[in-house]
């Protein structure tokens, strides 16, 4: 079982003072799988990722990453991981090639420096100083440094923020190439299309809780179950949500002799499902806030 799971997390809880960032998160990632952690800003995505990477210390819960508790991860363990962190402003005075070469020298089994620079699309910038790169180019360098050690497990924390549409598509191709090589990937994003395209499984997280952990297609199937029918009757806009839109249409056709004015049938998009789920979560959080406050002070005291 240890061999099958690259990441196993159970009941992970993390608070910063009175703020509950994670309220009991479970997450499994099988080897070779690409899982997207999807959620709005402040949902706990980065906190969860950084607990798995060993940067943050959880308050409670069990975590193993490649069979090791990240809080006790040694250098051999780190050599098997690749990390693309959220933002950075380092390495400014090195050229792209110097930066990638330096990190290649740190890892025991590095990939070829030129190939990695090529694959992230920085070939023409290889001798440019990092401080002169654009935001998107910097991000590609981050990815290059994340994969230079030939990781078994790659963490990508909002890797395509600041990319133009073309750069994002190129990036997706790059990630699909890594998936094909069997690299396990945990991708954090708030772009649905990115999760849909790359992930085998999507874990939607909001307010520190995993709301759904499914394949993108099963989420979409969920979305397809209901539809909204809109029309105008007696000068008034009408709208009805139903699991049986065809039956409703028949009824409308019987009521109106002619065309039904402004008729439309709308299926919710993946985005609607996501917004619905995360919206419910933030409402629940607001309702629960006073009770939480009491728990927090007790926790702080202990």
């Amino acid at each position: 079982m240890i061999d099958e799971l690259a990441v196993r997390a159970r009941g992970v809880i993390k608070s910063y003072g009175a703020v509950h960032a994670l309220r009991g998160v479970d997450l499994d990632i099988r080897r070779g799988e690409c899982v997207a952690l999807l959620g709005p800003n402040g949902a706990g995505k980065t906190t969860m990722t950084e607990i798995l990477e060993g940067f943050r210390i959880r308050n409670q819960g069990e975590v193993t990453v490649l069979g090791v508790d990240p809080e006790h991860g040694n250098l051999q363990w780190k050599a098997r991981l690749g990390m693309v962190l959220q933002s950075s402003a380092d390495l400014k005075e090195l050229s792209v090639a110097e930066a990638v070469r330096h990190f290649a020298q740190i890892y025991p089994h590095p990939a070829n420096v030129d190939e990695v620079i090529e694959v992230v699309g920085l070939h023409e910038k290889r001798n440019t100083y990092v401080r002169k790169l654009s935001g998107g180019q910097r991000r590609r360098l981050d990815v290059a440094l994340g994969i230079i050690g030939q990781p078994e497990l790659l963490f990508l924390d909002e890797p395509t923020t600041g990319f133009d549409p073309e750069a994002r598509r190129q990036f997706w191709t790059l990630i699909e190439g890594l998936k094909a090589k069997g690299v396990t990937i945990l991708l954090t994003t708030h772009y649905l299309d990115e999760a849909d395209r790359l992930a085998d499984r999507v874990a939607i997280i909001a307010a520190g809780v995993v709301l759904a952990d499914r394949t993108p297609s099963s989420l979409r199937a969920d979305a397809m179950r209901t539809a909204t029918v809109n029309w105008v009757e007696g000068g008034v806009a009408r709208s009805e949500q139903t699991e049986h839109p065809t039956a409703l249409m028949r009824e409308l056709m019987a009521r109106f002799e002619d065309e039904v004015p402004e008729l439309s049938v709308v299926r919710p998009s993946l985005e609607d499902v996501y917004l619905h789920l995360t919206g419910e979560a933030s409402e629940r959080e607001r309702d629960a806030a006073p009770a939480d406050g009491a728990v927090t002070s007790a926790e702080v005291a202990s």
């Binding site: 940067f55 250098l75 402003a89 390495l91 330096h102």
Partner: protein, 266 residues
């Protein structure tokens, strides 16, 4: 071990490249002691110290070289590393299989090279414009070497340990600069150590800079100037003992207090 030294060397090269290419920083790192030398040398430089006939410029050179140990190591790191933490340099290294010891070795290498450069410029300016005499004997230069090495290694490690104290890169120089200034004033860099109040001398004797300054005087002052010291001797043996003790203290402090991240981020 060889692997650790190799990584330390790689870090030194990368650190040096980044310093040299940051022109402002490289320039001021090299020139700062020279600027002070020009100011103090022009005002007090040719005053004679008592009956020994030694100039204040000569006395001040020893103090500035000792201060250079503190500038290049403690001050630069205690101010620079909080900024590196903010820029994400340290977090990226923490996420890679980079041993702390190799990172420390890289800093020590960086500090050694900047110290040699800074001191060379300072001595050259002193000789050219302020009539500084430099020692000729092998023994004296050997003493210069071991005092420098002990001072640099321990103050580098102290700088690494202290880099966790400032709460942000922006406030680091506000926190660190006064410490260096107070140590300089109490350790006999700007004033004759002999003329300082007793309590101040006792305070300064707890820290490495007083001993570095005294040690550098034993290198750059003629032997008859030992009469200007509080004990009438340069106390070379005691200097070695105190610096070795600080080396041990700094090793313990760096290995226990250093964090890749700010505490609040964990």
């Amino acid at each position: 071990m060889r692997w650790l030294l190799r990584l330390g060397w790689l870090r030194t090269v990368v650190e040096l490249k980044q310093l040299v290419r940051h022109r402002e920083m490289a320039f001021w790192t090299l020139m700062f002691p020279v600027v002070l030398m020009v100011i103090f040398g022009s005002v007090f430089g040719q005053q004679k110290l008592g009956p020994t006939g030694v100039t204040f410029a000569q006395y001040f050179t020893a103090g500035m070289i000792a201060s250079g140990v503190l500038y290049t190591s403690f001050q630069n790191l205690a101010i620079g590393m909080p900024q590196e933490r903010e820029e994400g340099t340290l977090k990226r290294l923490q996420g890679a299989p980079m041993p702390k010891a190799a990172y420390f070795l890289g800093k020590i290498g960086l500090v050694f090279v900047t110290y040699v450069g800074q001191t060379a410029v300072l001595i050259a300016v002193g000789v050219a414009f302020y009539g500084i005499n430099i020692p000729t004997g092998f023994d004296t230069w050997w003493r210069f070497t071991w005092i420098s090495v002990l001072g640099l290694v321990s103050c580098t490690l102290l700088g690494i340990a202290f880099s966790t104290v400032p709460s942000s890169g922006r406030t680091a120089s506000t926190v660190v600069s006064p410490i260096v200034l107070v140590l300089q004033f109490t350790s006999g860099v700007y004033f004759m150590f002999r003329d300082l109040p007793h309590w101040m001398q006792q305070f300064a004797a707890l820290f490495p800079l007083k001993w570095l300054t005294q040690g550098m005087r034993s290198v750059f002052m003629p032997s008859q100037a030992a009469s200007l010291e509080t004990t009438g001797s340069f106390e070379v043996g005691r200097t070695a003992a105190v610096l070795l003790l600080w080396l041990v203290i700094s090793m313990v402090m760096a290995s226990t207090l250093f964090r890749w991240q700010r505490r609040s981020e964990r």
